[in-house]
Amino acid sequence: MEVAGVLFLSSGLYMGWSLGANDAANIFGTAVGTRMIPFRTAAVICAVFITVGAVISGAGAAKGLGALGAVNALAGSFVVSASAATTVLWMTRAGLPVSTTQAVVGAIIGWNLFTGNPTDRTALTRIVGTWIYGPILGAGIAFILFFVVKFILERMNIHLIRLDKYTRVALILAGVFGAYSLGANNMANVVGVFVPASPFVDLNVFGVIITGTQQLFLIGGLATAVGVATYSKKVMMTIGSNLYKLSPVTAIVVTVSTATVLFLFASEGLKLWMESMGLPSFPLVPVSQSQAAVGSIIGISLAKGGRNLNLKLLRNIVLGWAATPTSAALLSYVALFFMQNVFMQTVYQ
């Protein structure tokens, strides 16, 4: 691969880093913040299982994203990804809730508008739809799960000390599931826009074919691991001690329900199975992890009688729906113009 290829991939690597730094922290925030799980354990689990999820099951959601607009030139992919990344960075700096998914979707639409490529309405509706029912689904799952956990704990009469031990094990298992689902669903945001213009060729390693797409996902996974190692501790400490104030047991509920939402929108196996049973299946598209988590937290507040329901969280979700994709689309459009007319690069074919 040429040097330009590596350079163009850099924006994707940044997105991967950001996924590791921010979204991985959502999985282990409470566990590490409350010192139930050492950061090192959490970091290793995140790095490994995000990559595993991405390589095994990442392609499904990437296809869903690709349906929106197949960015077919590497320079174009770079601009789309960099615009999304910049939007994420800006909004995070401004303290606004941001979804990587929405930034990427906005940036792709920006590319569509610039190139005159028609935006697939069905794909767009499918993706935007998940922004609404992702959090709702998260709330529903967390609501039910909360009562299941409560029921079990009230009947088992587990000693506080023993419960502590079980909680740690459960936090780790939930974290494994969370990391896997995050990799499977959200890695599409990191490398999805590079798939049609992937500079990688299939490799044959000891008889096992590793496709170019899988190599892309592996690199995304590694970038995520770097994000986890370098920056996520800070974010975890913030989430654990300031933002949501979850107890370790409720943190398990939030992690599992968030991971379930991401998993439902990422698993090809599940989709095929549901279709074979004649059931309506979930579209394979990237969904916002942080919004699924916020939905889950709202679900728990409702299960507790709605006393602590934080309506600001709801407002922030709705705000994110509008602000993030719009700014990313705008930025992407302008940046593509510069890339094509100032730097003389092919941004579409």
């Binding site: 409350t34 139930m36 587990i158 000693h159 506080l160 000390i161 023993r162 502590d164 031990k165 107890s247």
Partner: protein, 224 residues
């Protein structure tokens, strides 16, 4: 290598199990302290001084063992990073529980040193006061045990702690009124002496109630 503190369990006892056993042992020492106090005062009121001293010495031993155990549990909770979320609450609980035992010990020690002369017409009141106080403590340890296993049952025990503390207060007042109204006690200092001991015994129930107040908050925090 991790250091194992003295008295830790055998090869096949897990650290969790060991800590659970230590905590249970600690709570039964609090129970024992209360029961010994009842026995000691009963003997004092029956003028069986030798038996009283024996029971009083037993309370000292129990108090000492409880102190050691409490330090051991505290060390274990911190050294092994257990229950980081509610560690502070649990330690606060153990320490205030210790006050209950401390006051019981002081009561018997002061009986032993000052040897207050309790006239027959006040003996039943002292006996009744001690019984109420002991009931408050026993109910408290039930609440504490429930906190660790069945948190939803804490409140019903705490209600009883408050009930017995209130009873103790009433008996204390009645006893003091009797002591100051009677013609049988001639010296003012002796009346004050009766008041002092009634208040001291009743203080045990007050300490129990203080633990109960804390426990009520901790129990809310422990709900999911």
């Amino acid at each position: 290598m991790k250091q194992r503190s003295e008295g830790s369990g055998g090869l096949f006892t897990s650290r969790t199990k060991q800590l659970q056993l230590e905590m249970d042992r600690y709570f039964s020492l609090i129970d024992q302290g209360a029961l010994l106090l009842e026995e000691a005062i009963k003997r004092y009121l029956e003028d069986r001084m030798e038996d009283f001293e024996k029971k009083s010495a037993e309370i000292d031993t129990v108090e000492h063992e409880a102190d050691t155990l409490r330090r051991q549990i505290k060390h274990r909770l911190y050294a092994e990073m257990l229950i980081p979320d509610s560690r502070g609450d649990v330690l606060g609980l153990l320490e205030t529980l210790d006050n209950v035992l401390d006051v019981s010990k002081h009561v018997t020690t002061h009986f032993s040193i000052e040897k207050p002369e309790i006239l027959p017409f006040l003996r039943d009141d002292f006996r009744e006061l001690t019984e109420s106080v002991v009931k408050a403590v026993l109910e408290l340890t039930l609440a504490v045990r429930a906190f660790f296993r069945e948190v939803y049952r804490v409140t019903e025990h705490l209600d009883k702690v408050h009930f017995w503390e209130h009873e103790a207060d009433e008996i204390e007042e009645r006893l003091k009124r009797k002591a100051f109204a009677t013609e049988e006690i001639t010296l003012f200092s002796k009346r004050v002496h009766m008041r002092y001991f009634a208040e001291r015994i009743s203080l045990i129930a007050d300490e129990a109630e203080e633990v109960a107040e804390r426990l009520a908050v901790y129990a809310i925090k422990r709900n999911l």
